[in-house]
Structure formats: C-alpha cells, structure tokens
Amino acid sequence: MQPVLNQLYFSDRYNELLDSAGSSRPHWQAMIEQLQHEEPAVMRKRIEAVQRQIRDNGVTYNVYADTHGVQRPWDLDVLPLIIPQEEWQHIAASVAQRATLLNQILLDIYGPQQLLSSGQLPPGLIYGHNGFLTPCVGMSHDDDVALHSYAVDIARAPNGQWWVVSDRTQAPTGAGYALENRTIISSAFPELFRDLNIERLSGFFASMRDSLAHWGHRVAARQAAAVPGITPLGAGEPPLVVILTPGPYNETYHEQSFLAGYLGYPLVQGSDLTVRNGVVWLKTIAGLQPVHAIVRRIDDDYCDPLELNAESLLGVAGLTEVARCGHVLIANALGANLLQSGALLGFLPGLCQSLLGEDLRMPSVATWWCGEPTALAYVIANLDFLVIKPAYPQVQSSPIFGEDLNATQKETLIAKLRAQPDHYIAQERVDISHAPVLVSHHQPQLSSLAVSVRVYAFATPNGYAVMPGGLARVASGKDDRVVTMQRGGTSKDTWVLSSHSQAPFSLLRKTTSSKDLVRENTYLSSRMAENLFWYGRYCVRHLQKAIMLRATIRTLLDYSAEARAGEWPTMQGLCQWFALLPTGDDEEDEDVLWQPWSDDEIEPLLIKAVFAQQSSSLATSVQQLFQQAFNLRERISNDHWRTVNQLSRQFITRHPHPSLQDAMSQIELAINHFVTLTGFAMDWMTRDLGWRFMSLGRRIERLQFMCMLLSRALEMPQHSNLEWLLQVTNNLVTYRARYASQPEWLPVLDLLLTDAHNPNSIVFQIKGLVKYLQEMDAQDSAGGIATELNDCWQSLMALDPDQTFAPGNMTLAAWLDQTYTVTLHLSDRLSLRFFSYTSMHASSGY
C-alpha cells in the first residue's frame, strides 16, 4: 500500500502525522513504514480482524434514542493515535494538576465556601447549577478526596498546543472502552506494539483497585467500630467494592459490565443494595453483606430517592446519610456533578494560583460565562467566532456555532442569552488537529479527521494517577467541529511511546498465590440469582415449546386425520397449555365441550404460533429470552451471548406470507440454537452458585412440563400412537435402540418416568433437584425445601410398573398431579427464600 501522505495535509490545522513540510513526524515513522510495505489485502485483513473482535467481544454502545435495536457496535479505527513520551509527560502532569485543583474546589464548595465569600467564584455559578446538592454540604472524605475518578477531553490547537475542551466529573465513562480498544488494536499490530514499547494501561487499573481497597479498609474500620455485628476486615481481606449501574439500557452498560469483570467487582443495580443501621448492604443469596465502596455509574442526584431526587428508581434510599456518616465510600462523591460545568473553565487559572500556588499547566479553550455582564457583552459582539454551549448539564442544548446562523437566528440566540445568561457559555471555535484514519471500502485508504482524546485520572492516597493512554475519538463526518460517540464518531486506541521496555502485566494475572485462589464467586446478588433461575426456566420452556410445535406440525403433515385420532386432541391440548393455540373456551358457556380444531382451522393458527407478534408465540419467546440473557450479560460467555444474539436476529426478519414449511424451518432453526444454549449451560459455565440456580430453573421447568405431558397423555386411548411422546421428550433414539418395535405404554413410561440414567426422564430431574436442594438445606437451618420433592421421589420408586404404568391409571395420574403441584410450591419457596429482597420500591411525599 502506498499512502499518499501529502493529500492528508490541511494548512489550517495541526496534523498529528505530518509536519508542515508534509513529511511524517518521527514518532509516526515506524507505523508509516509498516503501512507502506503492506499489501492492501493484509491491511484489509487487519481491519476485518478488528471488526470481528468487536463483534465477538460484544462491544456495544447503546443509543437511548434508538428504539429499534438497543445496541450499536462499537466503532474503532485500526490506526492508533501515537503520542511521544515527552509530550505525554506534559499531558499527564496537566491532567493530574487539574484533577487536584477540581477536587480542592469541590471540597471548598461543599465545605467552608471560602471561594464564594472571597468573591473568587460568583455564587450564581454554584447555586444556579442543579448539580449543587445541598444535602451534601458538610460531608467529609477520607484523605480529602471527593473527586476519585476524573476524565478530561483535550484537543490540539493549530499551534500544536493541547487544550482542555471539557471536564468529566459526574461518572466519567470510556476508560473501559479504552482498555478494550487496546486489547484489540495491540493484537492487530502485535510486532509494532512490542517494538515501540507502548505504555501499558493495566498499571492504571491496578492503582485504581489499590486505592479503592485502601479507602475501603478505612470505611470497614469505621463500620466495625460503629455497627454491632460487623466484624473488622482482616489486613489481607479485600473490601467489598461494587459498581452501581443504571442497568442494561444505559448507553455504556457494556463498558460497565466489562470493567466489573476486569476489576472483579460485582455489578449491581440500586435494588441490589439496601440501607440498614447506617450501612449499605448488598443483598446476596447468602444474606446481607456490608458494602465498603461504590463506584457509581448513576448520576449523583439519582443515587438516593429518599434525600435526593425522589423520582429516581435507580438509587438506594438512605445512601446520602450513610455517606455522611463515612460508612461508605462513593466514587465520585455525591455532588461531584457540580464541577461538570463549562462556566467554571474561565475561573480555573485564577483558582489554580490561589489554591495550588501554581500556573495552570494546560489552558482551557477560551471560555466566557454569560452570567457575567462583561462576558455577555463580549459574546454578543463576537458571536461569529464562538460556539454557544450550555453552562450546566441541566440545560438541554446542542452546541450552536455562531458562524452558522443567519441574522434572524442570531437575534433569537441573543434574546435567549439575555433572558437567561447564567445558562450559557461561549467558547472560542478551535480548529482541532487531524489524525490519520484508515477507512476501508474496497481498498483501505488513509484519510484525515479531527481528533480529541479523553484522558483519565484516578485518585490515590498520594495524588492522582493518570492512565498512560486514553480514548481518542474522531469526528464522524462532515461536521468535524463536534466529536462525540453519541453522534456516531469513531474511536481510536491511544499509544504513548515509552523509552523503556514494558513488562507484560495484566490485572487479571497479578501476583496471585495459591491462597488467593477463588473457587466461588462470593457475592451472588439475589437479583442475579433470580435472573439466572428464570433464564434457566425460559431456556427450557422455549425449547419444549418449539419441540411441541414441531411434533404437532409433523403429525399434521404425516398422518391422515383418522390415523392420528387418538393423540391429536391431546397434542392440541398441550399446545394450548403453552398458549401456542387459542383455548377456544367460551367462558360464558362452560357446558359446551371443547372440540379440537379441524385441519383447515389449525394450519393458520400453527403458523401464527411461530411468527406472530403475539404473546407466547415462538417469535415473542425468542425476544423474551434475548432480554433475559441481556440482563445476565456479564455472567455469560461471548459465544453464549452470540448464539442468543443470532437467534434473536433470525426472528426479526420478516416473512410476508409464511407457509407451514416456513414455519417448520424456522422452528428447526430455533431448536438448533436452543440446543446450543443447553450445551453452553451444561458444559461451558462454571458450576458455581449462580449455575446452580440456573440448573434449578431448568430442572423445575423440565419436570413441570413432563408431569403435565404425561398426565395428559395418560388420558389418551389405549391404542394411540406414542411416537410423538418420545419425540417431544427427546427419547426416540434411546427407545429405538432398546426396543425394535412400535412404542408401547409400559416401556415408554418406564423410560420417561423411572430410568435414572436417562437425562430425559422424570426421575433424573427429581434426583438432581433433590441433590441441589439438600445441599442448600444443609447450609441453612431454616431448611426443608427438599423434603416435599424427596417424598415424591420415594413414592415414585414405590410404584409397581406392572400395575400402574398404563393409560387411565388413577394412582399414576394422582402422583403426576401431586408432583406438578410440588414444583409450583418449590418455585415459590425458592423465590421467598432467596429472591425476596428484590422487590421494587415506591416513593411518596406530601
């Protein structure tokens, strides 16, 4: 490939790759050489590999506005942004300084407020910002750190200087994406990555984890001193740190679950936590566990419906008071959103002098807060060169470029500024630097796009650590004045060159000794246990449903109406039990006996049962399963997730006028995927406590279905065809291997009921359930969950097959009824004992 470098150069911009003479800058040399000597085909492969890895890892970014698919694949350019070491040192020092400064400001405003009383900050800038949370005034923080996590968007001006565009202090996003970008891009250029000594990112995350552990131990000590029943943490014992997520619909949920996995913190929702005795507790199936630190990805005012925003359904009631007592660390502290304000930028140079006694190392893009009369006058006079932005996050407004406006629009804008000057800032329009981007249509091609970098800092007891890298983003297209992922920009890995070689180091492979080995995921939240339980149930239910449909359609196609007279009403009845067919019941006229559907009637109904967007159709079931799996995203493997994903996409495709054959192939497709999912559940998942709940769900569902199936089947005439019974229970192959004859009642019922080696038998389900339940009982004095089912098992074993294994047998029918009822109880009792914490809350006030 021969990139035509000089075409990438625009004289009004700084170019990351090229100097003003049009030759590549020294720190890009190695990369350019690689590109120049590479065949286009190889390059295309690199691009494809990157895209495949994004898809495979399931890296997504949710867009709230997108009502169709919640998810959009993450967009990542193959070429990293390369930054030389010296330049990076300046950036890192500047970011650390800025974080230190902002933290000081935060402490002052929620503390002594000297910045207000001395007139260094105008009160309007604080009190006009909805992010100023009065309940947080007077809170104290360990080591005087309230801003634990900080991010800043920087961009390079035409003169080559880096400038700050905006600060992120609420709950900075993107560090996880940066880490994923790194994993993907470093494997796209493995040799280059090694030879260039790129600074590793894992050290940053390790220091983040160390800091949280350090402060978590302080919290734990205070908890133990204040609350009876809480024992102090041992020196080597890790404190419980959780990541508090708004849930799967949040735009960066993927990142949150990725970070949770990477850092080894449980990812929890507000309803997983509760406040008692001045402490936040995680509701786990092993009971309440005290939480020491919360990394919040929920906006601070939504964190506590009791004291902050009463309308929040995401938070934890009473959290503010716990934080006030110092019994939990919240990163960032409640109230930190206050700093996320463009209005503050203009005051920072002065505040840096007075609070830190230093010059601000990196300037902000020139910013005027219209709340100051002189600034407002300047802004109105110079509108053409300025960008108008909201001063506070609560003001909803996209950036407005003065140069885009005609005379009338300008007047409207000026009137808006005059009416509420406090709400707006104006920033100088900066032509930010261009970075090379590799676009691939047919031929990979270099092009040049505006770039900005988000840099991350995390507090440690000894000052701020800055991630040596960052999330670089390039503008999506024509309007390269705004760079944002929400508008569909592309991201880039950021490579900081280092002079020394990098030790291979990953957080996941730290210095673990054998005593640190973890065999059980200690904190299984009740919500996650419940999700796993229901996921297990639905996987089985939908598979059974699909198999039942297949058997019904086959019987319809393969046999004449006379030949299937015996079993046909029973099969229809079971389809009704699954709500695949309408019941045909007229509630007002109960005396009229239900008549099976005729062949002409049933054909369109069966097609609808597959495709229709009605409740309990196969199509709807698949979407339900997708939702269930989505709620478990961080617990299931990528392969597992991809199977669910593919299945869901198959059912989104429209079939204009589906035939019975179309229905059949759709069912086959669904069954294949469901069976694959079963495989993942059995072989691919760690058999921890969570797996056990999923298995309980699977077996209860299976047992319930088989009891219902057999009790209906026993009502069939003696000489009905039993092959379908073997089909829907997946026993046909076994039966044929054992008996070379048409299915008969006794051997069929033996195989389905009492063959303990047959995984498709009732006794197999019961045995497994009793084993799990007895293990649970053993760990809990309340116990007794296993008893009822164990009784069922004993009485099944006591049945005499010769006497009872026949159609119309009342003893067997009673046993099936009884066992069915026990499975219903069992589900209720599990809910009550393990999931009962997960009820919803409601707010009130008058």
Binding site: P123, R276, L306, A842, Y846
Partner: protein
Amino acid sequence: MRYQVEHQTKYQYDSPVSQSQQLLHMLPRETVYQHCLAHTLLCEPVPAEQSSRLDFLGNRNDYLTILAPHQTLLVISRFTVELQARPRFPALIQGPSWEQVRWMLRTQATQHLDATGFMYSTSKVKCSEPLATFARQSFTPDRPLLEAVMALTQHIYREFEFDPQATDVATPLDEVLRGKRGVCQDFAHLMIGALRSLGLACRYVSGYILTHPPAGQPRLVGADASHAWVSVYCPLNGWVDFDPTNNCMVQQEHITVAWGRDFNDVTPMRGVVLGGGKQHLKVSVTVTPLTTVAA
C-alpha cells in the same frame, strides 16, 4: 404567643410494607422570633432506627426506618413553640427600590451570601419570562422592594382562587399561573418564581397558621393543615415573610417549621417503601393557642 401543634400523618397500604424509610421536616427550627419549648415524635410501628440532624440551612431532619411489616404507618409530631413579635413595617415605602436590591445581589454578592442561594431556578420553581411579566405588574420602576412585594402578595390573593381540587404537589408552575387556582404551596411557589425571575432572593417557608373558627363555635381538632409562605430578602431589613394565601405579612400567627429553596427542600414527610401497593394518605393538623404564661 405560645402554640401547641399536633400533626398526624397516616398512610394506609393495600398490601404489606416490608421496609419503610422516611425523612421528616416536621419539628420546628429555631428562628429569631421562634423558640421551641418541647417536642415529641411518635411513630407506629416503632421504628427500628431513628436519628436526626440539622441540615445545612439549619432545619431539623428526622430519619425513621421501619422494618416491621405493616399496612398502616402513623406518625405524630407534637410540639410547643413560643413566638416573639416580629418588627412591623408601618412604612413599607421606606427602604431600597427593588432594582437597587437586585443590583446589590448581583454586584455585591459577597456581602449577601446568605441570600444568593435563593435566587435561582429549582426543579419546582423555574424562572421564566411569563413569571417576570406577572411580577412586573406589581414591581413598577423604582418602587420600594417591600411595598412591591406586598403588592404582589395582594395581587396573588385577589386574582387566584384557593382550590384544593385544582392542583397537587406535582402541578407545574405555569399551569398554576394559567389556571389561577391552587393552594398555599402553589401560591408560595408562584410568588417565589415571580420574584426570582426578577433577580430577587426569596425562600419557601413551610409551617402552620392559626385558623379562627367561626364566631361562637369551638376550635375543631384536626381541621388545620400544613401551610407555606414566602420570605423575601431585603438588604436593609433582612428576611421579611409574606403570606400570599392570606394576603398578609407574617406576624404572630405563623409557626415556622423549615425553610428552603422550594417545597422539595422541606417536604414535611417523604419516604421510600418496599411493597405496599396502592397507598392512602390522611393528614390532620391541630394548632392550639396556649395562654401565655408570664415568665
């Protein structure tokens, strides 16, 4: 003057509540003109946890956590306060004009820091041009601040109808302005919105007012209600309270519980419950004047 106040709140739930956390602004704060002599807070079921603190405005916050399953929650606050006479302003025409006050708040903020927290939009009270226009009918050029505020108080009293059916705690301000109906809370918010839209500082005061039974009839128990009014900042006189619902300046018949930027800062009782289903609320308030005992 001495008063005893009893405020009963009863929540009834359709299904059991397994956990209830409540935050109360029900016991009175101390003010220059008001001293609390005695107070009790009763809760049924008995709370598993109870604590209190003063918030950063000096209001008393009480926290209750009830862990016993229940379908009825009863909270009774009972207290006795003594009120001192407030200064009267026989000559409201004295003092700085409202434009001067606005100018001082903007340009000499450091001298009026107590007031600057009460000048801006909140979630319940959003400043707007219609509210400013509404205010300007009373705030004519160069009018002394307190005279103009009294005029606004009268204006709201005359043009708006007291109607408990017309609004609830969630009714937005512009709807109150359009419909010209509401209760004390709406009128207080309306007045605050009007004043802040002009660039003035004022706060929301929550409390109780003594009501007068018709001549010859006894005082009915539980017939009163929570009340709300507005306190306006005047650099010369400090905070001066006006009651738009009753068209008066606050004297010795208003009992202050708490103040804040709007209702949300001082909600008498807000809470989060687990379970409960539909809830039914019953509130009764009795304000009884006590014979003043000579000290």
